[in-house]
Point group: C2
Chain length 216, copies 2
Amino acid sequence: MLINSRSEATPTSAHDRVYRGLRSRIMHGEIGPGAALTLRGIGAEFEVSMTPAREAVRRLVAEGALTLSTSGRVATPELSNERIEELAALRSLIEVELASRALPRAHMALIDRLQTINGAISDAVDRKDAVAYIRTNLEFHRTLYLRAQAPAMLAMAETVWLQLGPTMRALYGRLRRTEPPHFHRLIIAALKAGDEPGLRLAVRSDVTQGLKMLAG
Amino acid sequence: MLINSRSEATPTSAHDRVYRGLRSRIMHGEIGPGAALTLRGIGAEFEVSMTPAREAVRRLVAEGALTLSTSGRVATPELSNERIEELAALRSLIEVELASRALPRAHMALIDRLQTINGAISDAVDRKDAVAYIRTNLEFHRTLYLRAQAPAMLAMAETVWLQLGPTMRALYGRLRRTEPPHFHRLIIAALKAGDEPGLRLAVRSDVTQGLKMLAG
DNA sequence: CATGCTTCCATGTGATCACAAATGGACACA
DNA sequence: TGTGTCCATTTGTGATCACATGGAAGCATG
């Protein structure tokens, strides 16, 4: 409505709310690969018009979180195996560097927090909750990388997570979920010991671990 | 106008034309850091309404090519030294990997093409044409990396270039431009010799070279 | 002459609408 | 029963408009 005199201030812009909502869902695997979305549907769900919905979608397309068919239809991407391998390699490159930069700044408080998060991951595994698993797993990594004080690199890493989101859901879904996060314990041990080569190896292993499922 | 019966088919969508135009300018350093843009201005320049202009801007903001002030004003970013260091490190990480993947596929035709581009770079240096220098320099790298057959990685690298675009203009502007591309010759030599460690070192040196100017 | 306030214009935001194209299903026919 | 065609509905695109806000210029006051 044009005569919208809601004096209650909008804390954040509409397109940003839509963007954040969709981004969170995609990154955490709440939407499977190949799912179709419509601008009007998004708008209705977030109670906004098509304009902010379109802007949010454009932004997510730019980040590779959504694909646009030639006719403009919006959907989550179905990644080829080659693409998954590339994205895993990117994760490895960027996240090993982030972990390496975080290492000198990693104090006990950080390690405690990581162990707490690890407990939450085990809970999610026990509950067979794929979305919670993905979310807490990413939180583990983000908590570590925040210490690197490298926002541009972290943003890049999150963009890769975003692109892998729908696929991770499918991937972890077919995974027999009996294993607690093994490599996470190696990461924590390397942090405690100040062992940089060990940390790099542990992060690389953790990041590329899920990929093995796919190839096998 | 709503009664727009232009039967001449739009070959590509309006927002895409605007996006490509702006992106090219920013990446190639045609716009200096801190320059302000307006949606109406962009729309007038590309002869479209504000809607496609906004979509293109949103997309470029998502890619880090533009910044949005809290009040929504659009401008090219002025990067801090820490940010520049981070982006250079990202270039190094990603592009070394791309070059390494391209190496086994690099045949003579590719090396010839790279040498031709190198000639164009020298011309740009002689003409003191900063924009042409940046454009041909990036073309050199892109030509090499295309052989890696890794589109996701290449897209990441280009996003970093985009973020560095306005800064590169300022950087190469204050550079005494007497030097032909030294490290490019090392890259070509390593490609010819099939020397992977040498190639990795040459690419890393070339990518981080410009940064030295800034710190010094 | 400097500093604070006020006003006005420029600018971003979001809703709505007209239009075109594509998609999906219904229906007829082989 | 399979297949091709046609139509209706869904969907994206882009233009325009009303509104709120922020910045800059101008004015007044110390």
